[in-house]
């Protein structure tokens, strides 16, 4: 009798856990369904090539916002990748030292800082002193968001490189710098590139840190010292406005964002699977 109950309970829990998985997949399916269904009808060539249309006029696109997103994300990458990769190299090469632990800890902490707080910080250092919003300030905010991701990816992947490779280079008389830059880093490079791409994909979907750094701009600009429109902020502006046509555009923008994220995740997935196969093979 008691055993029957135990088996029954166990089965019940198994079913509940499977139910939890299905429950979480429902919103995922719903979000993807609505974004595709609502977005696809308003997504056309003009969306990528035209400027936003004034209120009341149907049509128009987000050409300036798409370029703006690319620019701000590019600026972020320009700052975060060299700093992050080098810091990651230090954390991996001098693992166990106090500074390396502090770097790791700082990166984890930075990763947990809410994006809106990063935006406020970027505002105080890159907008307040110059009295204007700018693409540079936006890039600064996104760069800070990217930094911990790049540091941790680099560090973890360098630690995956077999120590014998490093020792071999050192035994042949290479200096530490030479061993790291010509042997260890190249061995981990595909993984680092994948991690950096994922970090880029993630920050390119951020809105909150850009609201008061890159701000918005109804016009076309490539000047990093000017406020600039971005895809995410544009979607937000359109979503909270009371115009039907703008809502349509917002869904189209959301579809573009989701497509970017999905593509990057899939690419990373394949790259990761390939790398793991290679590691097992070696």
């Amino acid at each position: 009798m008691r055993n029957t109950w135990r088996r029954f309970l166990s089965q019940g829990i198994v079913v509940l856990c499977a139910g939890a998985v299905l429950l979480a997949l429902v919103p995922l399916a719903l979000v993807l369904f609505y974004v595709v269904a609502q977005g696809i009808s308003s997504l056309n060539w003009a969306f990528f090539t035209h400027m936003p249309a004034p209120v009341g006029e149907v049509g128009g696109g987000m050409a300036n916002a798409i370029l703006g997103s690319l620019m701000v994300t590019g600026l972020a990458a320009l700052g975060a990748i060299p700093i992050g990769v080098t810091a990651g190299i230090y954390a991996a090469e001098y693992r166990g030292t106090r500074v390396a632990s502090a770097i790791r800890f700082a990166a984890d902490t930075l990763n947990g800082v809410p994006s809106i707080v990063v935006g406020v910080f970027a505002y105080t250092v890159a907008v307040l002193p110059f009295h204007r919003f700018s693409a540079l300030a936006g890039g600064c905010a996104l760069g800070i968001m990217m930094l911990p991701l790049v540091v941790r990816t680099t560090e973890e992947l360098l630690l995956l490189v077999p120590n014998t490779l490093r020792e071999g280079a050192l035994a042949l008389g290479a200096t530490r710098a030479r061993a790291v830059f010509t042997v260890v880093v190249p061995a981990a490079l595909p993984g680092i590139v994948t991690g950096v791409l994922l970090a880029l994909a993630r920050v390119s979907g951020e809105t909150a840190p850009l609201l008061f750094t890159a701000f918005n701009n109804a016009f076309f600009t490539t000047d990093p010292r000017q406020p600039i429109a971005t895809l995410t902020v544009q979607v937000y502006t359109y979503a909270i406005a009371p115009y039907q046509d703008w809502h349509r555009q917002a869904w189209a923008g959301a579809l573009v964002l989701v497509t970017i994220v999905l593509t990057c995740s899939l690419l990373a997935r394949f790259a990761t699977a390939r790398m793991e196969r290679m590691q097992r093979g070696s």
Binding site: L28, T86, Y90, A107, D108, T272
Partner: protein, 318 residues
Amino acid sequence: MKLKTRPDEILFRVGTGVFGVIVIAAVLAIGWQLGWESRLSIREFGWQFWRTEIWDPVAGQFGARPFIWGTLYSSVLALLIATPVALGIAVYISELCPGWLQRPLVFLTELLAAIPSIVYGLWGMFVLVPFVRHLETGTPEWMRALPLFSGPPLGIGMLAAAIILSIMVIPFTSSIAREVLRAVPQAQREGAYALGATKWEAIRMALFYARTGIVGAVMLGFGRALGETMAVTMVIGNTPRVSASLFAPQYTMAAVIANEFTEAGDDLHLHALIEIGLVLFVMTLIINIISRAFIWSLGHQDRPRRRRGVLAQQTESV
């Protein structure tokens, strides 16, 4: 050991170390800057800032209690919904599901985390809010008399915010809980089965073994929920008031910063908003440190640490 004294070794160490110090400096700089740029508000209101409820930028009155209430209430509600689901997912993926299903499921939950906040917000505004309104109008009269369900059924409000937050928190909590469960030694499960345990009894034992890590995973989810901005801003209704009602439109700390920052007319208003950011920063900092300590303590019970799948973990956390 000779390596350490060579000049090029020192150059390399210092050269790379400088960049590492930048990362550390960034965290300190955030705390310092937020503290400095909110000095007007801190000096003017002191602790009173967190006790008063009136937020009136025009009159120069700033009381942040509604925002801290809204942030904590929405995050706790989200956690109540998300935790059982997230743990269920973690247990299913790491303990129960057939091997071929593991990778696709991990990928799908990762995808849930990868969708940008703004997309959740858009979906929340146009799909979830009407649905919640439908739920609210369908609530029976005797339930509506309770303070928990009082107020008109607007759709936008605490309930919609809590639901959307829980959706966004689930992948984080479940992915860390899964890692934590993976750190439980296989011998523990085998021991349980050898003593005649059922599946659930073995899982319960694994969960108990990993309890500190599980608590850490839940707390990390809490930290995420506290700082989430866009999706919440778009569905919570942005009304500064302290209410226990799930139907009432309310406000959060992150949302008020997002909404009012560019419109702040005078320095005091700006400093008040930055002070809210400062407190949000300190709150998430403390929660993150504690939860990482929990997770870390578990990972160091059994050495050597497993190295396999570090890249997979990395893609998940990204």
